[in-house]
Each structure stands twice: as structure tokens, then as C-alpha cells.
């Protein structure tokens, strides 16, 4: 048991650090540091840069266009990535549909889709949730009927993040009504340009328009676009829930955000002294920071076990729960730190290039909306309630 990095890992860390520092475009970096909204182009530019270095599909094996890193390398990469103000790599292609195609796709599908994901040529989105389904994924109603080499898909998906930008969507659809609800589900890839697809934005409480409803009205999908066997989509859905879990906690990002809390608390004053010198507020920072250390230690323990050949199991639900709880706790600390200036709301102030002087300190504008927006993190991707039930049943055997 040791925490020393080998010389190889140390130089790997240096390499990652240098690349990220040298290649993140300054305008994107500034947006990230100010908490401003990113546009489609920002994501695309950055993902292309990573793809150019071969690091976009960070978790993939070499044969499919990934770097083929060990778990320890991956851990270090995630840590450094989180430390820099890089936009998140959108997960829909790289960590969702990509690994599914690797695991369940046939050779043609692999050849067709994987390079475009690893190169960031195609923008994917996810068609899982439906109105009225929520955490009960198996109750989905979108129907796909086979007709002359095509599926005709009808139904509605919701909470589809960034569907307005997407070229393709991967969907769970119902191909059979027989047996248990889990049994008649298939996994389809659908080109967003296909006639019959309509995207309608959902405005969230922070004023954002990142999520959408996607309506599918007699959408024709070639049967070759089915991944895995027909009616076996549930296996894929479960696989996806279990994949890439150690990165899910986003400890690196939380560390960076906590540093932001410290910076802001150093700038804010309370009774004439910096807020960060206030015992109560310092105590809260320490509390979150210690919990972050505990979470990070747990990830490192899982990574070490993974390196020894033990893949992460349902214990990884812990990472989702705690990761999200800490992210949310940090958004609360930010809101607390800025005091009265949590109130003003000028939507445009969150955009880069807004020309008016800020209301209050420059860092204040995105804080409250971000707090509101981030409540979603304990709801989506398997709510914290679902994760607790997974631990209870799969780990504790209750």
C-alpha cells in the first residue's frame, strides 16, 4: 500500500498537465472560470482538440481509437482534467453509446460509428427517459414496429440533453409487449435528420434550455441500426448504468469548484475581514474538503482493485451518491459566499461577451442559477434513491 506515483506515472501526469494547459483555448478557459454558458462550438472545438491528441475516448481500448490506459493512468488523467478548467467531455458518445457499441455492436457497426465518436465527428444524444417513466425505465412506451427492413418508431423521449445540437440519438424502444416489461426493449441508433423527429426545448428553473423533448412520429430506422439482439436492449441499459463508474463522482471538478469557494471567500468580506477567516465558514469548507478526501480515497481504492483485475461493481453507486452530494454542497457554499448578490438575475450576464458591467462582483451572476440547475444531478443518471436501492439489494443483499 503506497501513495507514491511511479516515475512513469509522474511523467504521464506531467504530460497530461502540460497538454491541457497548453491547448485549452483561452476564451473557453475564461468562460469556464467565470461559470459562463458554453455554446455548441465551444464543446466541439475542445473535443476536437482532445480527439486530435487521441484522448477524447479516454476509457477506450487502443484498438477502437482510445489511449488504452491503465486504471491508474485513467485516475491521474481524470484528476488533472478536473484540475484544469476544461469543459466536460460530453458523455453521450464517448462514455455511453461508444462503449455499448464496443461491447454489443457487430463489426460493421463498430467500423461505422466508433471512429466518428473518437474523432468527435458526430454529436450524440440520449433517448432513454420518457414522460411518466422517470427512474422506472422499463415502463417506456416508445414503440418500434418492424416493416420492410425498417423500424417505424413512434413515441416521445424527454430530458434529452443538448438534443438541439445532436446529429444522432440512441434510444431504448419497445419492440415487443410480451413478457415482463424489461423483455421487449431494443436499443436503436437514429439519425436526427430522419423525417418525423421534432425537438422542443424544456426551460429549466435556472432559465437554461439544455434539455429537450424529442418527438418521434413515424420515424423510419433501418434494422441495421439495432445494437445487439432485438428485445435484448435491457441488458444494454444495465450495462450502461454500470459502465465507467469511477469517473462519475467528478472529484476533480469538485476540487476545482471548492477552490473557487475559497477564492470567493477570500474576496468577500464579513465585518471587515475576509469571509474565509470566519470560523463557521472555514469549518464548512473543511468539512466538504474532508468528505472529498474520503471519496477520493475510495475511488483510489476501487481503481487499485481494478488494476488488480477486480472490475468495479455496484459499490460504485456510492460514488454517484457522494459525488453528487458534494457537488451540490459546493453549489450551496458558493451561494452562501456571495451573500446579497445571490439575488440579481440577468440571463445575459451568464453569456460570454455581455458588455455591461456586472451587478455586484463578477463571479456572482452564475452562482444561484448553477445551484438551482445542479439539483438535477441527484435526479438523473439513476437518482440517489435508485442508487441507494442498488446498494441495499446488490451489495448488502437486503
Amino acid at each position: 500500500m503506497n501513495l507514491q506515483e511511479s516515475p512513469e506515472l509522474q511523467s504521464f501526469r506531467e504530460e497530461v498537465r502540460a497538454f491541457l494547459a497548453d491547448n485549452l483555448p483561452p476564451d473557453i478557459k475564461q468562460k469556464m472560470e467565470m461559470g459562463q454558458s458554453l455554446k455548441k462550438d465551444d464543446y466541439q472545438r475542445w473535443m476536437k482538440i482532445l480527439a486530435g491528441r487521441g484522448w477524447l475516448a479516454a476509457g477506450w481500448p487502443e484498438e477502437h481509437g482510445g489511449p488504452g490506459w491503465t486504471p491508474a493512468q485513467r485516475y491521474i488523467y481524470d484528476e488533472e482534467y478536473g484540475r484544469h478548467s476544461c469543459p466536460r467531455v460530453l458523455p453521450f458518445g464517448v462514455t455511453m453509446v461508444g462503449p455499448v457499441i464496443i461491447a454489443f455492436g457487430n463489426e460493421e457497426q463498430k467500423a461505422e460509428y466508433l471512429p466518428k465518436i473518437a474523432n468527435s465527428d458526430v454529436w450524440w444524444c440520449q433517448g432513454y427517459s420518457e414522460p411518466g417513466a422517470g427512474s422506472d425505465l422499463a415502463s417506456l412506451k416508445t414503440k418500434a414496429v418492424k416493416e420492410n427492413g425498417h423500424y417505424i418508431v413512434n413515441g416521445q423521449k424527454t430530458w434529452t440533453t443538448m438534443a438541439q445540437y445532436a446529429d444522432w440519438i440512441f434510444c431504448l424502444v419497445r419492440t415487443s409487449d410480451e413478457g415482463k416489461p424489461q423483455e421487449g426493449i431494443s436499443f436503436l441508433l437514429i439519425d436526427m435528420k430522419t423525417p418525423g423527429i421534432t425537438v422542443k426545448p424544456i426551460v429549466t428553473m435556472d432559465g437554461g434550455q439544455e434539455v429537450n423533448e424529442v418527438f418521434l412520429d413515424d420515424v423510419k430506422v433501418p434494422v441495421e441500426n439495432c445494437i445487439g439482439d432485438e428485445n435484448k436492449g435491457w441488458t444494454i441499459a444495465k450495462y450502461l448504468l454500470g459502465h465507467e463508474r469511477t469517473g462519475i463522482a467528478e472529484v476533480g471538478k469538485s476540487r476545482r469548484q471548492l477552490q473557487r469557494v475559497k477564492d470567493i471567500a477570500a474576496a468577500e468580506t464579513i465585518d471587515g475581514m475576509p469571509l474565509i477567516e470566519d470560523t463557521a465558514f472555514r469549518g464548512k469548507i473543511a468539512e466538504v474538503e474532508i468528505e472529498l478526501l474520503a471519496l477520493d480515497a475510495t475511488i483510489l481504492r476501487m481503481v487499485s482493485a481494478e488494476g488488480a483485475g477486480k472490475p468495479p461493481g455496484p459499490e460504485a453507486s456510492l460514488l454517484k451518491i457522494k459525488g453528487v452530494e458534494l457537488q451540490q454542497a459546493i453549489t450551496e457554499l458558493l451561494l452562501e459566499a456571495i451573500g446579497n448578490y445571490g439575488s440579481p438575475y440577468i440571463r445575459e450576464a451568464m453569456d460570454h461577451g455581455w458588455n455591461e458591467p456586472p451587478i455586484g462582483p463578477e463571479y456572482a451572476a452564475p452562482v444561484a442559477p448553477h445551484y438551482f440547475n445542479w439539483r438535477k444531478s441527484s435526479i438523473y443518471g439513476g437518482s440517489n434513491e435508485v442508487q441507494r436501492s442498488i446498494i441495499a439489494k446488490m451489495v448488502l443483499g437486503l
Binding site: S129, S139, M205, E268, T269, G272, S343, A368, I379, S383
Partner: protein, 376 residues
């Protein structure tokens, strides 16, 4: 000794309740919050007609001689409907400052609904310390004010803005603080208006050699400022209690109709117990806001401060938990702008930062632990 509304107060509650239920559907709230003015002038006239604006003022100032408790009961019901009309800013803060400063003429205008006011008590670096006043006022044949008042609610609609300014003393001295009326149309007054995340309106008020009209005695305003904010705390706590009530109601209803795995969400034991906790927090918030209401007009300023700070701490914490849980139980739907619950959540969140957050008031409260008169 009776912590229950009187028969008269029950009638008052019913009249506000009726207004909210019949005349204030959520869609209207949404429209008003997005409108140019930010609230309804018609509703304001109705409030005046029904006497709600006159209640807490003495009869010789055109008031009805009611109590702050009456105002709190009104605010609790307004909170249930998430009403945006500026009752707190104009009647509770502005009205009280004017009333105590002998400006019956203006109080009467508030009571009849023709005057809107705002109170600028915060500054960019004051945080929640009411004595942290750097805005200065100098008398050179008429007072001239210079400074920056931060996040002044209702300033965009106000006919007159009341501000604190320092006429003597050092930045955080309680001595040397004075109150002034400034005219938003004065050339020395610049307003930067904006909406707030919880659907209200506020402004940064920049004073550059602005003309000010002294309210009360120069340098001696701090006790009145503290008293006024304590009354504001009691009222906003009542509003928060009302918001929590509706929030729990909505969560009950939503979970009862929404099915997951073939069963209504409300049948999941985990959610049941968490809703029971929400109930406990909501009921205690109502109770404590009533105590704060009664004690907000105590002549013993320590008793007043204690009760108001205690309520603000409890309601800050309770509001956080009730709000967050309501969103979590609404799932994705709770995240949408479309559902009323998200607006209740936002207001509840921001109430904690208004007039000092939980940490601030827990410190204020525990500083009072030393006082001999203090016993739990």
C-alpha cells in the same frame, strides 16, 4: 397566552386566502413576474381597499392600529400563493420607518396604496451587518449623499427610496447612522434595475451628490433600522412558512398521482418518512414564525432580536430541506420552469439570504447567550 389567531385574525386570514385562491392562479403570478412593472397595480389597489396596507399603522397616521402579527398572518397566506406584490418592502419596511419617524403624511399614502417605497440598507461589502454603512451624507445647506446601496428590493417601482447613510463615525459603528429619503428621479440618483432569481425586482442604487431628506434625528437611526429589519424578518419568516405549506402540499399531490414501478410514489416508505420530516419542519416553522410575529413588537429589544433571529435560523434550515426535498421528489418535473414547485423552491432558497442567513443569525442569537436575562 394563546398562540392561535383571534376571531378577527381568522377573518383576515380567510380574506387573504380567498384572494390567493380565486384571484391569484399561478399563471398570473408568472405573467406578473415577467411584466414591465413586476406586479399588479390592480391587486395593489385591492390590497388597499381590503385594508391590508393600513393594518400595522396607528390610526392617527391613517392606519387601522393592527399589529405586526396581523401582517405576518397576511404574509403567510401571500406566501402560499407566492404573491409578488411588494407588501414586505413598502408596508413593512418603508411604512414602519416612516411611521416611526413621524411621517404620517407618507404613511397615509402607503395605506391608501398610492405610494411605493424601498429601503436600501445593504451595501456591496456590508454583507448582513446593518451597521456596515459607508454611504456618506454631508450637510451643506441640505444633505448630499454619496455611496452605493446594494440589492434594493422594489427600488424600480418606488416613488421614494429610504437609505441608510453615515453622518458620523467609522464604517461599522452603530452610532452615526442616519436615514434619508431620496427621490429616484433626482439627478444624483442612478438606479440599475434588474429582476431577481426569485421573480422580484431590485436595483443597485448609486448616489452621487444626491439630495437627501433626513428622516428622524441625525446619527441615531440604528435602533430603528434594527427594529425594522427584525419586523421584516418576522414577516418574511411567515411568508416562508406559507411557502413551505404549499410546497409540502404540492409534493403530496404530485407523489400521490405519479406512479413508478406501478405504484404511486407516495407509497414508497422512504418518501413517506421524508415527507413526514417535511411536515415536522413546516409545522414548527409556522409555530416559530408566530412567536417571532408576537415578539417582533416587544418593547424589550433583546427579546425581539432573540425571537426573530431564532425564527430566521430555523426557517432558513427548514426551508432549505423542505425546498430541496420537494424538488427531489418531483424528479425531472421539479426541475422545469413550467412547474410552480420550482418557483416556490427558488423563493424559499433566496429567503435564507435575505436580512441575514442562518449563520449570521445563529451567531447573533448565540451572542445573546451571555445576557443575564437569557434563559432557554
Amino acid at each position: 397566552m394563546n398562540l392561535a389567531p383571534t376571531e378577527e385574525q381568522k377573518l383576515l386570514i380567510e380574506s387573504v386566502e380567498r384572494f390567493v385562491e380565486k384571484d391569484y392562479p399561478f399563471e398570473q403570478r408568472r405573467e406578473l413576474a415577467a411584466s414591465e412593472l413586476g406586479y399588479s397595480a390592480d391587486h395593489w389597489a385591492t390590497f388597499a381597499e381590503l385594508g391590508w396596507l393600513a393594518i400595522p399603522f396607528p390610526e392617527d397616521q391613517g392606519g387601522l392600529g393592527g399589529s405586526i402579527t396581523d401582517s405576518c398572518l397576511i404574509a403567510e397566506q401571500l406566501g402560499r400563493g407566492l404573491v409578488v406584490e411588494p407588501y414586505l418592502w413598502t408596508v413593512i419596511l418603508g411604512g414602519h420607518l416612516l411611521s416611526r419617524s413621524g411621517r404620517g403624511d407618507l404613511v397615509e399614502q402607503i395605506a391608501t396604496g398610492v405610494l411605493q417605497t424601498a429601503f436600501g440598507f445593504a451595501e456591496p461589502t456590508s454583507r448582513y451587518n446593518l451597521a456596515s454603512v459607508e454611504t456618506s451624507a454631508a450637510d451643506s445647506g441640505g444633505w448630499r449623499l454619496n455611496g452605493h446601496k446594494a440589492v434594493v428590493f422594489n427600488a424600480p417601482a418606488a416613488d421614494t427610496i429610504i437609505v441608510t447613510a453615515r453622518t458620523a463615525g467609522d464604517p461599522r459603528d452603530e452610532e452615526g447612522i442616519s436615514l434619508f429619503l431620496v427621490d429616484p428621479k433626482d439627478p444624483g440618483v442612478t438606479l440599475r434595475d434588474y429582476p431577481t432569481v426569485d421573480g422580484l425586482r431590485a436595483a443597485e442604487v448609486i448616489l452621487e451628490d444626491a439630495t437627501g431628506e433626513l428622516l428622524g434625528d441625525a446619527g441615531a437611526a440604528y435602533p430603528l433600522v434594527e427594529e425594522t429589519i427584525d419586523r421584516g424578518i418576522a414577516v418574511v419568516c411567515a411568508e416562508a412558512a406559507g411557502i413551505m405549506h404549499t410546497t409540502l402540499q404540492m409534493t403530496r399531490e404530485y407523489t400521490a398521482q405519479r406512479k413508478q414501478f406501478g405504484v404511486p410514489l407516495s407509497k414508497f416508505q422512504v418518501l413517506q418518512h421524508r415527507m413526514a420530516d417535511m411536515f415536522n419542519l413546516t409545522e414548527q416553522s409556522i409555530s416559530l414564525s408566530w412567536v417571532a410575529a408576537v415578539k417582533a413588537e416587544s418593547e424589550d429589544s433583546l427579546e425581539r432580536a432573540r425571537a426573530c433571529s431564532a425564527a430566521k435560523v430555523f426557517i432558513g434550515k427548514a426551508g432549505r430541506q423542505v425546498g430541496q426535498e420537494s424538488i427531489q421528489m418531483h424528479g425531472g418535473m421539479g426541475m422545469t420552469e413550467e412547474m410552480p414547485i420550482s418557483h416556490y423552491f427558488k423563493r424559499l432558497t433566496l429567503i435564507d439570504t435575505l436580512f441575514g442567513n442562518r449563520d449570521h443569525h445563529q451567531r447573533r442569537y448565540s451572542d445573546l447567550l451571555d445576557d443575564k436575562r437569557f434563559a432557554a
